[in-house]
Each structure stands twice: as structure tokens, then as C-alpha cells.
Amino acid sequence: MNRKLLLHSVVLAGSLCAVGTATAESRISGEMMANACAPCHGTYGHLENEYMPPLAGMPEQDFIEGMKAFREGTRPATIMDRVARAFSDEEIEAMAEFYAQQTDGGDNE
């Protein structure tokens, strides 16, 4: 993996977030991002007995370190490297916070 290219793309992803659009607030919520992961990791990160890991209730620091390692290519992955490269540090932190709060056991209510 070309590290320079990688870093470049990460910074680019970050700067794009600042552009914003006419109608929308310029911050993507942790929930909005987590919803896009739900088909693999379950609604709000709740998943049982699957090959993919659940994310609900995951300690923030573990999540952040895990995502950054996927992004940088230092943690083995089949697909998460490709996914994690789309997110800035701030976005990863927002998702971490969201998932850490999902401790209700999965009833989603």
C-alpha cells in the first residue's frame, strides 16, 4: 500500500467534509454514519452469532484504534480497510461515541 497516497486520501476526505451543502448542516452525525454500517454490523451495532462482530457497546478507544488501524492498513482485514479509508479522525470519533452508547441489549427502543 502506498502510504503517501493513503495519507493524502485521508486528508482529502477530511477537507471534503468542511465543504458542506446549501441545505444541510456540515457535520455528519455518528448515528447517520453508523446506519450505513448496519447491514453488516446490525441495527445500531447489535448483532448476535454472526461472523461479523457486533459494535454496540464497544469501548470508544478500542473502536477508534481499530478503525484507524484498518484505515492505515496495519490491521488485517478483508473489507474494513476499504471502508475505514472513507473516514476522518473526527468522524471515527463520532461513530465511536455513538456505538459506545448503544448498551440497551438490542431492542432498539
Partner: protein, 448 residues
């Protein structure tokens, strides 16, 4: 990124910090709870309804769906080779009804009045809405292929592009085919529902033929010059089914690629005569743009596509036959307060897939909640992934995370892409397992 941009960015992050919590609390709407009607209880519609209710129990949500049960397309290729049965594809609506309090009208929508904000069904039910979500799936451009009609598809040349009786017909034909028979698969031009599915279909048939009819052949006729995940698919076919990778697709292939004398799968791109222009059901023959006639023992023509019938009836479609929407909200550019999601809508870089429909549905639901509460909208984010199996133990995938930029949905630069060609065998094995898990997790996230 420049210092200014960075500072701007951080400031914006702070400004939006309160937003994330918006969907947790329920805000009372007073006496009249707003009513969101969802037409189509398929992938997009079901997800939208569930996520509206998750966001706010006080919103009344009604799904109008013609069928009492949903038959999912994802996994339907596996019926052809007895990896699963039609029954396994059926999904009920009890969870959406009982767990989330979503109301259902099982009926065909025959009319919508965007001025009066009113939906009428064939059975005479009339529903008033504050916001309407439409997710009617796809329809076919029969006129693009001479001699192809719904009757032909139902009896002799199935497309099987909507899981149901045609899936069963195609399965019967494949099982009854002679030992050395040929299946012709005519792939459609872009854009169409589930871009990798014709090639996954070919893969699963090849796996089955290898075990049950080792002299059978699969001929893929394609109007395109390439297709999604084409290189990972072709590499797998080379390894598993004696497929010879064309020179056009050799770049970056690993050293173990071999030249074979014969194989199960042949792929003909548009420039080499792959574009099918007509069918003759009496002789099971397809005609191509190069004026060839090709006969198959089984012929599976997947026709070009357009938005679902209802979208046309409601006047939501553009000249190309798809529905133009505001990419932040999926509100139609034709009718206010009507949101179009899923296969029928135009979503730029996003493919027409179940995953994409699910992702769009969640964004539309979140924005509709904001609109009903007179709150500011939020910035959307979408994803798509498609796992496909080259065989039961060999999976390949494509992934992307999308954002709205300048009014268009684009893939986030530097991210996403297909399974690497130098992936170790373990990765392909794992991807096959993840595909299984995805199927269950996805159905759960959408319907339960």
C-alpha cells in the same frame, strides 16, 4: 488541507455537535401525529418505515404493499442450484407490524394525488399523508429486445430478475437441460438492478455444473465492455472454472493465472457481439447486434430496465425512465413531499442494490423526521457493499462510502473498491462466510 479549511472544519464540527442526539428523543407533535405513507414494502420501503419508527414512535407510518409477503431477490440465484429453496426467500411483515407499530394496507396503489396528498388503492382504501415515500423497484424495457414479452419471460425465456415463479422456471430448465447443454445469459446494459448478479448467477451455475453436468457451458452475452468486480470474478473463474481472462482484463492479475483448453464460462463483450437485440422463443435463440443467432438449451435474457410502473404512473420519471430527486432528502424534483428511494431513483455513483436502497431509506427517513419537526436537515452519508460468491467457498466483494458533493452522490475519494487480486485464499474463504452473515444481518436490519 489549508489552515483556514482546517479551522473552518473544526468549527463546523462544533456547530453540529447537538445534531446527533436529535433522533433519540421523541418530540410530541400535538393532537395530530404526522402520517408518513410508504408505497412498496420491499427493501427500500421496509427500511424507511422501520427507521422512521426508530427515530420517533409518534409518527404514524403506513406501508401500502401489494403482496402479503416479500420474496427477496438477494439469495435468489442460490435457488437455481439448490443452495436454498424459494421458501427461504420469503420474509413476513410481523416484526415491522408488532415490534414497531407500523400499519399495513395490503393492496395495489392505483393513484396518488400530490396536491391533496392522498393515496388510493385498488380495493378502495384512501390514505392522507404528510410525507410520502415511494420505493416501487424496477420495470423492464421489453421494447428494447425484439420478440421479448412478459408472456415469453413467464413461459420460455425467463429473466428471473424478480424472485418468484420465473426463478423456479429457470431452475427447472437448468436441471432438465442435457448433460452437454448450453445456458445463454444475456446481461443488461447499465443501469440495472444488482450489477454483479448476472455474473454471480453464472458462477453458481458453473459450480453446480462442475458437480452435476461437467460438459455443460455458460455463455454470457454482454452489451458492456466490463462489469462490476469483473477482475475478481474473472480471476476466480480462471481458478475454478477454466475461464480464460481476456487481454483487456489482465492488468494486475497474479502469477497463478493459467491458460485453459476449455472451461465452463465464456464471456462476450459488446464489441465482440455480446449485445442481444432479439429473441425467438420457438427455437430458444437470441439475435445479436452483430447479426448472429445463438441457440441455447436454456436462455436467460435480463432485459434493460427502468423505474417501477407506479413511478411512471405518478409522473415521477425523467426522459431516461428514472426518478430525479434531491440527493440530500430524496424528495422528488417533480412532486413536493414525495420521496423516491431504491432502484427507481437516480443516485449517481450508487448502484441499484438492496444495500443502496436500505442506505437511501435511512437518509430519507432521518431527513423526513427533521422536516416534520421543522428542524434543520443533516448531512447525509451512504454506503453500499455487494458480496458475491464465485463458489460456495470463494467470495468477492465491492464496497463504497458515499457523500453528497455539489448536488451529486459521489464515492469518498481514496476509499472503497473491490476485493484485491492478490488477496490470500483465506480472504476469499472469509468473504464467502461474510456473505452468509451479511444476508442474515441485512434482512434483520431491513425487516426486523
Amino acid at each position: 488541507m489549508s489552515e483556514i479549511n482546517r479551522r473552518e472544519f473544526i468549527k463546523l464540527l462544533g456547530a453540529g455537535a447537538a445534531l446527533g442526539s436529535g433522533l433519540f428523543g421523541s418530540r410530541a407533535f400535538g393532537a395530530a401525529a404526522p402520517h408518513v405513507v410508504v408505497i412498496g414494502g420491499g427493501t427500500g420501503g421496509a427500511t424507511a418505515a422501520k427507521y422512521l419508527k426508530l427515530a420517533d414512535q409518534n409518527i404514524r407510518v403506513t406501508i401500502v404493499e401489494r403482496n402479503k409477503e416479500y420474496v427477496r431477490c438477494y439469495g435468489s440465484n442460490e435457488v437455481l442450484t439448490d443452495h436454498c429453496t424459494m421458501d427461504d426467500l420469503v420474509i413476513g411483515y410481523d416484526a415491522l407490524k408488532d415490534k414497531y407499530g407500523i400499519e399495513f394496507v395490503f393492496d395495489e396503489v392505483v393513484g396518488v394525488d400530490p396536491e391533496k396528498r392522498r393515496v388510493d388503492t385498488a380495493g378502495g382504501t384512501r390514505l392522507d399523508y404528510d410525507r410520502l415515500i415511494v420505493s416501487p423497484g424496477i420495470d423492464y424495457r421489453w421494447e428494447a429486445i425484439d420478440g421479448f414479452t412478459p408472456e415469453v419471460a413467464e413461459t420460455t425465456i425467463p429473466h428471473a430478475w424478480k424472485a418468484g415463479p420465473q426463478t423456479e422456471l429457470l431452475r427447472r430448465q437448468i436441471h432438465a437441460m442435457p448433460e452437454d447443454g448450453t445456458v445463454v445469459i444475456a446481461a443488461p446494459p447499465n443501469p440495472y438492478r444488482c450489477p454483479p448478479a448476472p455474473y454471480e448467477r453464472a458462477s453458481l451455475l458453473a459450480e453446480w455444473f462442475k458437480a452435476h453436468k461437467p460438459r455443460a457451458k455458460i455463455l454470457i452475452l454482454d452489451p458492456k465492455e466490463g462489469f462490476t468486480k469483473d477482475q475478481p470474478f474473472m480471476l476466480a473463474w480462471n481458478r475454478l472454472y477454466g475461464f480464460n481472462i481476456p487481454a483487456s482484463h489482465m492488468e494486475g492479475m497474479p502469477d497463478d493465472v493459467r491458460q485453459h483448453d476449455s472451461g465452463f464460462i465464456e464471456w462476450v463483450p459488446g464489441t465482440e457481439g455480446g449485445k442481444v437485440t432479439g429473441v425467438d422463443p420457438k427455437t430458444n435463440t437470441v439475435h445479436t447486434a452483430n447479426l448472429d443467432s445463438i441457440q441455447g438449451d436454456v436462455v436467460n435474457v435480463i432485459p434493460p430496465q427502468k423505474a417501477g410502473k407506479l413511478a411512471f404512473k405518478m409522473g415521477l420519471t425523467n426522459a431516461q425512465g428514472w426518478c430525479d430527486v434531491d440527493r440530500n432528502t430524496f424528495e422528488s424534483r417533480v412532486h413536493k413531499r414525495i420521496h423516491v428511494i431504491g432502484d427507481s431513483c437516480i443516485a449517481d455513483a450508487m448502484p441499484k442494490s438492496g444495500y443502496a436502497a436500505n442506505s437511501q431509506a435511512k437518509v430519507a427517513a432521518a431527513q423526513i423526521v427533521h422536516m416534520l419537526r421543522d428542524e434543520p436537515l443533516e448531512e447525509p452519508l451512504f454506503a453500499n457493499t455487494c458480496f458475491s460468491r464465485a463458489n460456495t467457498e470463494y467470495g468477492v466483494s465491492i464496497a463504497a462510502v458515499y457523500r453528497v458533493r455539489d448536488g451529486r452522490i459521489v464515492s469518498t475519494p481514496g476509499s472503497g473498491g473491490v476485493s484485491p487480486l492478490d488477496a490470500p485464499p483465506m480472504a476469499n474463504r472469509l468473504e464467502a462466510l461474510y456473505q452468509e452473515s451479511w444476508m442474515r444481518a441485512f434482512v434483520e436490519d431491513t425487516f426486523a
